[in-house]
């Protein structure tokens, strides 16, 4: 009974965490620096994690290392052409970025705030208009390169605490025993490509959806590839406009989104079948522009039945709640595209069964990979950074061993709860909107209309 109680106290956690990969007998304790935290992966989320810890007051005397496999990206001057990889940054993410001074750099470079979002169906008139009361900023469209540059600058400013190693890839990891063994090192040992080794009290895996850290730890990953690729491009609008609305239309083949970059430019994210995506990328510019405009403007997928059913509900709402009925607006038309800005990449879903192990935490795409239809991918990653930083900060102020499961499980619970819901909802939406089948179209039409009329968004 005693054992049961001890085990159940942790919700069976003691037995759930199986011994990790290969444990090593480290007989000669080297005089290496023992890092407090090593972040593996210097992308948007990894760099943000290193920044967040570097600027945290309780990490003042700690040693942090960021490992990035690629070269240091230097941006001498902001290029005139916009990059085709952009992210929709939520207000929460903006708060995180400003907490360590990166948002200021972004403001000094360029970004686009949007105040409204129209999401509508290709198979019906149903639409949902999102906006905040007072028309506050709902989100910001920022080029990934701009974010990366801001993060790099802030990292340089705390180089006494945070060391960044570029062109450094970890090739193997050695995990500690679950509890101390005579003469065996309690730290995580990392071997780099050049043969050098590092020791750390906590390893944070921020190395993307094919995470090497996650695989080395043997953490199970639920994943599947969507039968879709996303096509991105930078578009020039036919005429200059206020351009502070984000547009997304659900076509049966996948959602197409237009995100504002400036008065005359918008970014395209079009998720569609692999075949169609390949066609879109290879067709000539005029054809491509026509395809985009028609995707947003054409009513070819409407059917009489759905239109009538939709109108019926619309009249009902107009009667009951006149102010909450939105007229469908049309996005700006596209005139031409930026040369060489057309690119495609495959889409998939992924979720790690565990986000943490003793002395290990996964953040960003290493922990979860999502469809871009909700624009949430990087925001979920920044949310992970925020949560983990908070837990580690408290642990540091309590003098705790940073790699201890007691606070790592707190982070895992926080984020799994949030991320799983979002992942499931996004996946469900993707599946719901991938069909022309009348019953489902009707369901989502009415659902969308009802949501628009009822909820105070």
């Amino acid at each position: 009974m005693a054992a049961w109680l001890l085990g159940s106290r942790c919700g069976g956690a003691a037995s759930r965490r199986a011994p990790l990969g290969s444990c090593r007998w480290w007989s000669d304790a080297s005089a290496d620096t023992v890092y407090d935290v090593v972040v593996s992966g210097g992308g948007l989320v990894g760099a943000a994690m290193a920044c967040a810890l570097g600027y945290d007051i309780h990490f003042h005397d700690k040693k942090i290392l960021l490992l990035e496999a690629g070269p240091k990206k230097v941006m001498e001057k902001l290029p005139e052409t916009y990059s085709n990889r952009v992210s929709s940054i939520s207000p929460g993410s903006a708060t995180l970025l400003s907490s360590f001074g990166a948002w200021d750099h972004i403001c000094n470079m360029r970004y686009r705030a949007f105040r409204r979002m129209q999401v509508w169906d290709a198979c019906s008139e149903a639409l949902i208009m999102f906006d905040k009361d007072n028309l506050d900023d709902m989100g910001y469209i920022v080029e990934n390169d701009v974010i990366m540059h801001a993060l790099t600058k802030q990292l340089e400013a705390v180089s006494d605490r945070v060391t960044v190693l570029y062109r450094s890839k970890a090739v193997s990891y050695t995990w500690p025993y679950p509890f101390p063994m005579a003469d065996s090192s309690p730290w995580v040992h990392i071997t780099l490509g050049d043969g050098s080794t590092l020791q750390t009290k906590l390893l944070i895996g921020a190395d993307g959806h094919n995470s090497g850290v996650r695989q080395a730890a043997g953490i199970q990953n639920v994943s599947w590839n969507y039968d879709q690729s996303a096509v991105v491009a930078t578009l020039h609008l036919s005429e200059a406009t206020e351009n502070n609305v984000a547009w997304q239309r659900f076509l049966p083949s996948g959602p197409i989104a237009l995100l504002p970059l400036s008065d005359t430019l918008s970014s395209l994210v079009w998720s569609t079948s692999h075949k169609h995506a390949a066609e879109l990328v290879s067709m000539d510019e005029e054809e491509f522009v026509d395809a985009i405009n028609s995707a947003f403007w054409s009513d070819a997928n409407h059917t009489e039945f759905i239109n009538s059913a939709g109108s019926m509900l619309q009249y009902a709402f107009a009667f009951l709640k006149p102010t909450k009925v939105s007229a469908r607006q049309l996005p700006p038309s596209v005139a031409r595209i930026d040369d060489k800005s057309r690119v495609l990449f495959p889409l998939g879903l992924g979720h790690a069964a565990e986000y943490v192990r003793p002395r290990l935490a996964l953040i960003g795409d290493a922990a979860h990979r999502v469809h871009p239809l909700a624009g949430q991918g990087v925001n979920m990653g920044f949310g992970d950074v925020s949560s983990l930083r908070q837990h580690l900060s408290i642990a540091a102020f309590n003098g705790q061993d940073l790699g201890s499961m007691s606070h790592l499980t707190g982070y895992e619970t926080d984020r799994q709860r949030h991320n799983t819901a979002l992942l499931a909802a996004t996946d469900l939406l993707k599946r719901l909107y991938s069909t022309r089948a009348t019953p489902l179209v009707l369901l989502r039409t009415w659902g969308l209309q009802a949501t628009n009329a009822v909820s105070p968004l």
């Binding site: 620096t33 025993y177 101390p180 090192s185 309690p186 309590n398 003098g399 007691s406």
Partner: protein, 289 residues
């Protein structure tokens, strides 16, 4: 266990009986989900308790190392569960314990962390021995889960007083002597649920906060805080509570002026001073109080 297999094939020059003892020890103290789990989670209460009250005594502190510059004595440190967090917060800590194996475990555990290794020193000895061997005094003395194990509480508190700097802080956590603490602390925790290893505690030696307070006050230590602590065996977490009938924590401060305020104790102090004087003239004589 896979690691024992690995060990036997690679290490042949180490004494196997030493390793055996070592294995069971290390396992016990530092396994966060093992037999000492409740002590690990008690850090969530006792570290902030010590840290925050010590921070109140200084004007400003270094961010990142809030306790830097402080000298702390951890009496009955065991495997170093509380000593290490205090060291990580920047204090210079001396951890003492009468059990040789405990100090070995503690020593071994901190040896892997180069920063911590320099901040903490462990010794196998009693509080009286520290008092005799050194004239150094401490900003804080921590006696966590200890006073319910000592032979003479009055003497123990007097020794704490002696080794504290004027104005220094004493932190105690212990168990109250009540019917409830017998039923839950001994019968349930030890004998039924195995939350605490059997035979760890003797109910007769539990100390009520009232008794502790009166001993502290009569020995020049002004009690600032007494707060109850409650352990939830299902969540494995401790919580602060108004109720002190089970576990509780106390924080007392040594008066800032050197004089001992109560006359009855002057006699004892006189004896102590005599003994200390003797000890300094006869370095080979070790008098026990």
């Amino acid at each position: 266990y896979p690691w024992t297999r690995q060990y036997s094939t690679s290490q042949t020059t180490v004494d196997s009986s030493e390793i055996k003892t070592f294995l069971t020890l290390a396992h016990k103290w530092w396994d966060e989900q093992g037999a000492y789990a409740p002590l690990h989670s008690m850090n969530d209460l006792r570290v902030p308790f010590i840290r925050d009250n010590l921070l109140k005594t200084v004007a400003n502190h270094q961010p990142g190392k809030p306790l830097s510059g402080m000298k702390i004595l951890d009496v009955g440190c065991g495997g170093g569960l509380l000593t290490e967090p205090l060291g990580r917060l920047g204090a210079s800590v001396i951890g003492i314990d009468p059990v040789d194996e405990n100090i070995k475990t503690a020593q071994h555990h901190k040896s892997f962390d180069p920063v911590l290794d320099k901040k903490i020193e462990y010794r196998v000895c009693s509080l009286e021995e520290i008092m005799e061997e050194t004239t150094e005094t401490f900003d804080a003395v921590v006696a966590s889960e200890v006073v319910e194990h000592v032979l003479n509480l009055e003497t123990f508190i007097q020794c704490c007083y002696q080794v504290l700097k004027p104005g220094g802080s004493l932190f105690i956590t212990t168990i109250n002597k009540t019917q409830l603490s017998y039923v839950l602390g001994i019968v349930f925790a030890e004998q039924i649920a195995g939350i605490v290893p059997k035979g760890t505690h003797t109910w007769e030696k539990f100390v009520s906060p009232e008794k502790l307070e009166s001993i502290l006050e009569s020995n020049g230590l002004s009690v600032q805080i007494v707060a109850g602590m409650l352990y939830n065996p299902f969540s494995g977490c401790w919580h602060w509570t108004e109720n002190t009938s089970l576990n509780y924590a106390a924080y007392a401060v040594k008066s800032s002026d050197q004089e001992n305020p109560v006359s009855a104790e002057l006699v004892l102090k006189g004896e102590t001073e005599e003994l200390q004087a003797e000890a300094s003239t006869n370095p080979n004589v070790h008098e026990k109080l």
